[in-house]
Each structure stands twice: as structure tokens, then as C-alpha cells.
Subunit: 87 residues, 2 copies
């Protein structure tokens, strides 16, 4: 028996240029307050790894894109990138 | 004039094997509820990109590791990886 086909879609969601990320700003301030003076800027990325029951990389990417548009990302303030790999 | 030296440290924080991630489970259920039946598993990664005022990659990695241990990651339930790149 072989394992059922599966692809991994990796979604990376970031705030659009110019959108303030208060949590990233708080992390930067906290690190500086702990003495990490070299910290210039902090940026957060939400990365979501999806195991998908398909053997087709193109289909996996289309599904991941539809999931971003339907639920995972907020298009008003966020953008996303998708990578697909065999899992 | 040249720009001051700067390195980017990319920290990827994940839950340890066996630690339940309720938010990832909720995302999986919501996607399945929206009709994305191909979703088998969802894993979240917290990615934090740090711009650091140093030209030394080794120093950047040491600083990022110290920041993970001091603030960014919870060693009880999380592990982290660090990549360093010229920014």
C-alpha cells in the first residue's frame, strides 16, 4: 500500500506596507527594554502550513489561494504568499 | 555615505511535537466547514523578522537566540529556528 497523495501549502501572511502592527511594535520596545539595543525593526509574519489531500501542486495552490481569500487573510490590511511542496 | 551595517534574523517559532494548538485546530475546522474537504492538518508558525544593527552574522544569530530565550519563545511548549541574512 502507498500513502494517499498529499501536498503541503505554506501560506505566509504579512501586513501591507504602511499598516501598523502594534504587536510587532510592542515586541521591539520590550526587546529594547531588555537591553537588546541593536533591534531596529520587528516584523511579524503569520505562517500557516496546510496538509492537503491532493497530488496536484497547481490544485493545492488554487485551494490555498481560495482559503486565504475566504478565511485566512484579511485583504484590507494583509497580503499573502503561497509556496507548495510535496509533503 | 554608506548605510549603517544591518543583518536580518528570521525567527520561526513552532509548538513542540504533541502540544495542541487550539487556534490551528479551529482554522482546520473552519476551512472544512467552508467546504475545503481536502484539508488534513493545519500547523501555525510564528515568524518574527528582526532588523539588527550589526554587520556580523554570528553576532546576529547569538542576539536572536538570546531574544528567543528571554522573550520571544516559550521553551516549555515551543521550539524555534533562526536564519540570518544580510538585509
Amino acid at each position: 500500500m502507498t500513502a494517499p497523495p498529499s501536498m503541503k501549502a505554506i501560506v505566509s501572511i504579512t501586513f501591507r506596507e504602511g499598516v501598523l502592527d502594534p504587536e510587532a511594535a510592542a515586541i521591539a520596545r520590550s526587546l529594547q527594554g531588555l537591553g537588546f539595543d541593536a533591534v531596529r525593526n520587528v516584523r511579524r509574519v503569520r505562517r500557516i502550513e496546510l496538509d492537503l489531500a491532493t497530488a496536484d501542486a497547481g490544485e493545492a495552490e488554487r485551494m490555498a489561494r481560495a482559503m486565504c481569500d475566504a478565511l485566512l487573510a484579511n485583504p484590507v490590511i494583509e497580503t499573502y504568499g503561497i509556496e507548495v511542496a510535496r509533503s
